[in-house]
Amino acid sequence: MTATEFALRTDGVGKRYRKGWALRDCTLALPAGGVIALVGPNGAGKTTLLRLVVGLLAPSTGTVEVLGHDVTASTPQTLSRVGFLAQDHPLYKRFTVAEMLRFGRACNLRFDQGLAERRLAKLGIPLDRRAGTLSGGQQAQVALALALAKRPDLLVLDEPVASLDPLARHEFLQVLMGAVAEGGVTVLFSSHVVHELERVCDHLVVLNHGRVTLTGDIDTLLAEHRLLVGPRTATDLDRAGAVVEAVHSDRHTTLLVRDGAIPAAPGWQAQPVALEDLVLAYLRRPSEPSAAVTSGAPA
């Protein structure tokens, strides 16, 4: 696999603010193509990681490589290949939509004005309205149209639907997935909602307390993990570290295990695990260094 087949590679990336480390020892290799979800609770370091990816922040340690280029170089060529939609989709509130497009055209090497206009027309967003007077969903759509008009190879979105109502959320994701289906763009987006990820994402990165706790292709992750349900047991659950989480009820013990750790004992049943439960289990784990679980990326 050559460097450019990775949309994103980070090596030992850390970011320290005055308050402390927001991100530590983040090593990722995310394949180009498809949709990557970055999941974690509020304050896990998602925004920091995404800002590092688009070069808005410089890492305190380590290196960030986007589409095969060191991102801190910030050349017009690398900048034009990455689209970014920041949290709360900021726009110049006093610009009209047409002026926002002119801004995009003026500040980019390639900018598909026609594409943006067609997208906005389809959504019924008038070009002469001031951006600040649009609804939240419409503002998000304008910001997305702006980012897509760059025809980026990597599109990074920070909590794109968090502030939208269900309808606007649905419309937004529809447009986004439509763009993915047209091909050529790798999408990396963050979310603290795990719900519905399975439907739209190919790849998963779980971030908790500033550390990557799980990363991998979603299908592979789901195939690797099993829920084991059996009689309540108090045995040492730490064998080989294969048990991710153990939940005990009055009579039963439910284990989330990885790598086919099938119980020898009778009376145990194996079940597939839902993505949401898998993510939650990893988020509940006490944070410890070097606990990141990496699943083989499709080679």
């Binding site: 800002r51 688009v54 070069g55 808005l56 922040l57 410089a58 910030s74 050349t75 017009p76 060529q77 900048l79 034009s80 990455v82 689209g83 970014f84 920041a86 949290q87 709360d88 900021p90 726009l91 110049y92 509130k93 610009f95 002026e99 002119r102 801004f103 995009g104 003026a106 500040c107 980019n108 090497l109 910001a143 702006l146 760059k150």
Partner: protein, 325 residues
């Protein structure tokens, strides 16, 4: 980038341009009338005012009819500060407030190019507007300056180079404060406060020390200080007198208490005070900067404020380059 900068800052530029324009027109109208009082030019008239009755009358009329404008303008030394702070404060702060820095710096224009273009354009507007303002004001004050000199606070702080330097100082402070505080309005306030805080010690302490002042020492004439035939009073009206008073025959400066004691003694003795002083060899001294140091002092003070502005802009550039904002 040109279009973007214009679109983002046109409101400030237009408002400030309009205000400076209105101010300029008003001063041009008033100033033309004031200049018309001196058909031969105010400078020549000031030289002849002692002898030429017309000139003396012209200066009296100037004071009576336009003195209020002069007094009003004394407070206008803050205008360059407003211009600089108004243009500098939103440069980064507004982007940081609205989150649009994330939009601006993820397009294909690298952030350092973005910053350089913005700084150059807005500093340019600051210099242009302040320069126009100062040019009109300096022209308006010509007759007053001919009579009063250019070292007073209502002249030195409003004329020549220093207003532009004040404006750049405010621009630098406002930009840097905006980058650190991430808010426009507090950044504007910081720039304003910083200027007021800097100006006081500069005007009172630093400015007199830009060069070593000269000292004049003359015996008190029999007919009083104004009766020195053949001399023009030293220092002259256009010089900047920092200190003046009386000294005894050895050159030791007298305190004002000693001076009043002498006056009392003269009254008790029933003699003319000037003759009394003259007889004791009392001398008049003046510590002053001659009028021709005006441009030297302007250059020094402008350099001082521009240097601070440059350092602050350097801090802004460093922060943006290090991706600290």
């Amino acid at each position: 980038m040109t279009w973007l900068i214009w679109r983002q800052h046109r409101t400030e530029v237009c408002v400030l341009g309009l205000l400076v324009g209105m101010f300029g027109i008003a001063l041009l109208v008033l100033g033309t009338q004031a200049h018309d009082l001196f058909p031969g030019g105010p400078a020549r008239c000031a030289g002849e005012a002692g002898i030429n009755e017309d000139c003396a009358a012209s200066f009296r009329r100037l004071d009576e009819e336009y003195g209020y404008v002069e007094n009003l303008l004394a407070g206008f030394y803050l205008v360059p500060v407003v211009i600089g702070a108004f243009l500098g404060a939103p440069l980064l702060a507004r982007e940081l407030e609205d989150g649009t820095w994330q939009l601006a710096w993820t397009q294909a224009v690298p952030r350092m190019r973005w910053l350089a273009a913005k700084l150059a354009a807005l500093a340019g507007v600051t210099v242009t507007l302040t320069g126009m303002f100062t040019a009109v004001l300096t022209w308006f004050r010509q007759p007053f300056d001919a009579w009063e000199g250019r070292f007073q606070y209502d002249a030195f702080d409003l004329e020549g180079l220093v207003p532009v330097a004040y404006a750049l100082f405010a621009f630098g402070v406002a930009t840097a404060a905006g980058a650190i505080l991430r808010r426009s309005l507090p950044a504007f306030g910081v720039a304003f406060g910083a200027f007021l805080a800097a100006r006081m010690p500069v005007a009172l302490l630093a400015r007199p020390a830009y060069a070593t002042p000269l000292t004049s020492m003359e015996p008190v004439g029999v007919g009083g200080s104004k009766d020195q035939a053949g001399h023009r009073p030293v220092p002259s009206f256009a010089d900047w007198i920092i200190e003046h008073g009386y000294a005894d025959a050895t050159g030791r400066r007298l305190s004002w208490t000693e001076y009043y004691e002498l006056e009392g003694a003269a009254n008790r003795a029933g003699t003319n005070f000037n003759q009394f002083l003259h007889a004791r060899g009392i001398q008049q001294f003046g510590v002053y900067h001659p009028a021709d140091r005006f441009w030297t002092f302007q250059l020094i003070e402008a350099a001082l404020f521009v240097a601070v502005a440059a350092v602050l802009i350097g801090v802004v550039v460093w922060r943006v380059r290090r991706r600290m904002v």
